[in-house]
Amino acid sequence: MKITEKTVDKISDLAKLSFDMKEKDELIIGLNGMMSFVTTLENFDSSEERVADFSFNPTCPLADDVATPSLKREDVLSSAPLCDGSAFIVPKTVEEG
């Protein structure tokens, strides 16, 4: 499968990334290089494999149902790009009708 500019445009929108033309050209070369060895996966006969059974640690330990202290609000907000001291500040997210 070949990665084209159209593929890059679609995937970059899903991945919330944007590229200028030069970056896009380099990306197409890089991704096609990756695809050249990734497509070999298609040769694997998987008719007998059951992915649903796969797990390293089938007995996943569960935590006790006990509430523990969370991080302090000011500590969490201290690394935010923009906040008002009690909440993150973001651009308007609901468009006007």
Partner: protein, 487 residues
Amino acid sequence: MDILNLSALEMSALIDKKEILPSEIVCETFKKIDTFDKKYNAFITTLYDSAIDEAKKADARAISGKRLSVFDGIPVAIKDNICTKGVKTTCGSKMLENYIAPYDATAITHLKNAGMIMAGKTNMDEFGMGSCSDTSYFGAVHNPFDIIKSAGGSSGGSAAAVASRMVPFALGSDTGGSVRQPAAMCGVSGIKSTYGAVSRYGLVAYSSSFDQIGVISNNIADGAELMNIISGNDTLDSTYVGLKDGFTHLLSSSVKDKVIGIPKEYLDGNIDGEVNEAFLNAVNVMKQLGCRVEYFSLDILKYVVPCYYIISNAEASTNLSRFDGVKYGYRAPDFSDINDMIKKSRSSGFGAEVKKRIMLGTFAITSENYERYYKKAMEIRANLSSSFDRLFERYDAIMCPTSPTAARPLGIRETDNTRMYLSDIYTVSANIAGLPALSVPCGFTDEGLPVGVQFMGRRFCDAKMLSFATEYQRVTDWHKRLPKEAF
């Protein structure tokens, strides 16, 4: 005597005998960092003030005979994708250039409880994505054995810091070989545990089902002791199960009559001649120690690199979606609306390699490609895992080179990095199957670059795997060879 040439266990013994104080070791550590890190760029952040404060407390405990652990007062470096409360945790990225973690990773909590002293945060490939430690926003790491060569990656800063004896050991993280491969490139020892043996809480996620915090050290005995400390209890990572008997109880066990398997597929035309020679010499050493060596074939190994890159990048594309310029990290200064803000922040905050991997991962999990790539890769993962289970019914350990080549020159930028991805061929299997694996130095090329040999073990049999490496280091001295430039 140069204190920093001692192993961590030797330093500890001298502290016990009151022949040296932790603060003296820490002072020497920072003298060395000041002198040499301009050349190697191993550290992103150094922690002189807090280290001196902690060292004074360790001095008092040592004097009163109340040390908290065998490594109380010993300095350690931390890869910069492991969260450290109140200290920058950048992941080698512009995205997190100014991020100060509000909590400690569980492994860091265990180090602090053991009285260990953080010397600084080490340089790395951005978000762990690379094999040369040259995708870091903070510049490439240079190999202490030859500064025009890569230190390997992604934990290249940790490996370079240990190789130049700035610190006796360091934490790294291993998603596809990122502890073992730089350890091999820098002539030091690197240990990745069984998946689930060490808590991942506080390790910034790249690929959650592969990531493990590991240790890079001067020798396996130091590394195994440090693994005991960081693998302590955790209730915050649901994949953590710990390691019941720890890492060190078999360290002095004989490997006589044990059976080592070697995959034939790993010794084909892709391996460099000098690396192959060093590896075969290491095999001979194991034979002299009484091991029986058998070669086996495992056809599915030809799929491991594509399998690894599909699953790891699919997980990366979802894990890194948290970087949106809202909660933490970089936010673009100019934007028209929230979608534009997120796109511009991510596009400017991430480097080229990270964006490429997010793109491949997103591509692999779209509805039209999921069956063809992601599901197929997961089927290969299941097959590989059960294949290794069967192999370990016959073999006590599997042995192979750590990397097909020695360290590569820095500064070679390729738009198509396929060659770099294929260099992970020997290390990714352990991550795909969740196996413990390690690398120890086994020789040098004619150019003077270190070569590593890898041992892999059965899941949760980390201690047994370590016994092969300790026996190997008991009768060889490759791990004692030092880079001339650093002394």
